[in-house]
Every structure is written in structure tokens, then in C-alpha cells.
Symmetry: C2
Subunit: 83 residues, 2 copies
Amino acid sequence: MKFKAEITVMPLKEILDPQGKAVTSSMKNLGLGEIQNVRIGKHITLEIDAADENAASAKVDEACKNLLANLIMESYHFELKAV
Amino acid sequence: MKFKAEITVMPLKEILDPQGKAVTSSMKNLGLGEIQNVRIGKHITLEIDAADENAASAKVDEACKNLLANLIMESYHFELKAV
């Protein structure tokens, strides 16, 4: 079966997000001062062939842990959909 | 009212995503060859003060169009939640 995964990787709350801070400041200059606390992470989509949803989930988890997310600075979660 | 927005910005389907291609190749080296067609975009969270959900939605849309997404190469969608 083929699955599509939607993965979100975000900087941990405890960790300063300089890119997000810079964008928050830019919002003011754009007249959007009511926007605050911008945080920027990654959104990753991928396709995976697996026997069932559990197998696909284990593989995506492995990919997140080993390549897509840096667990010292980031957290991740994902959703799987059969396609 | 305060709202939290979850914004996803992805490269358009028609556009080559070199970062995604590189990650797809790396999957093979990690023994995860069943993972294909990786695409990498941005996930952005922010907080916004607005009178109601419609006003918040209009502001977030403006922020996406003017700063967060490059509409020539990327598409975006977002969800709002009252907090």
C-alpha cells in the first residue's frame, strides 16, 4: 500500500527561534503589529510504500529521528493517509 | 480575541524542489528506499489579536501574501484557532 505522510518539524518551545523573531519584527514594518510570537519550522510531505499503516508509521518515525528532525532542538509529529 | 494560526507553505507541485530531491536520495542511504517524493516547505505558527475570526483570517492572509510565502513558487494554507 502507498501512504502519504505530512510531517511537521518545529523548534522546541524552550529554544530561541531567531528566524521567527526576525519575521515577528518585520510584521510591525508591514503594519501587522497585531501578529506576535512567530515561530518557523519545516513542513515535509513524502510518499511511502509499506504493508500496512503501522509499518509505514514506523518507517516515517525512523526517517524523522534519523534525518528530518534534530531532536535536541526540534520536535515533530506526522499524519499518514492511504493514497 | 487572541487566535493562533498554523500556516503551511509548500513549493508548488510544478516546481522542482532541490532540497526535497536531496533528502529523497539520502533516504536510500539510510535504508529507507521505500520513501519517495519528499517535498520540503515551511510550517509557521503565530499569534494574532483581532476582533473576530474573519478579521484574524484577513490579517494572516495578508501576512502570507506579503511576507511568508512567495506566490510565484509557493502555495499556502492556514488554520486559525481561538486561544
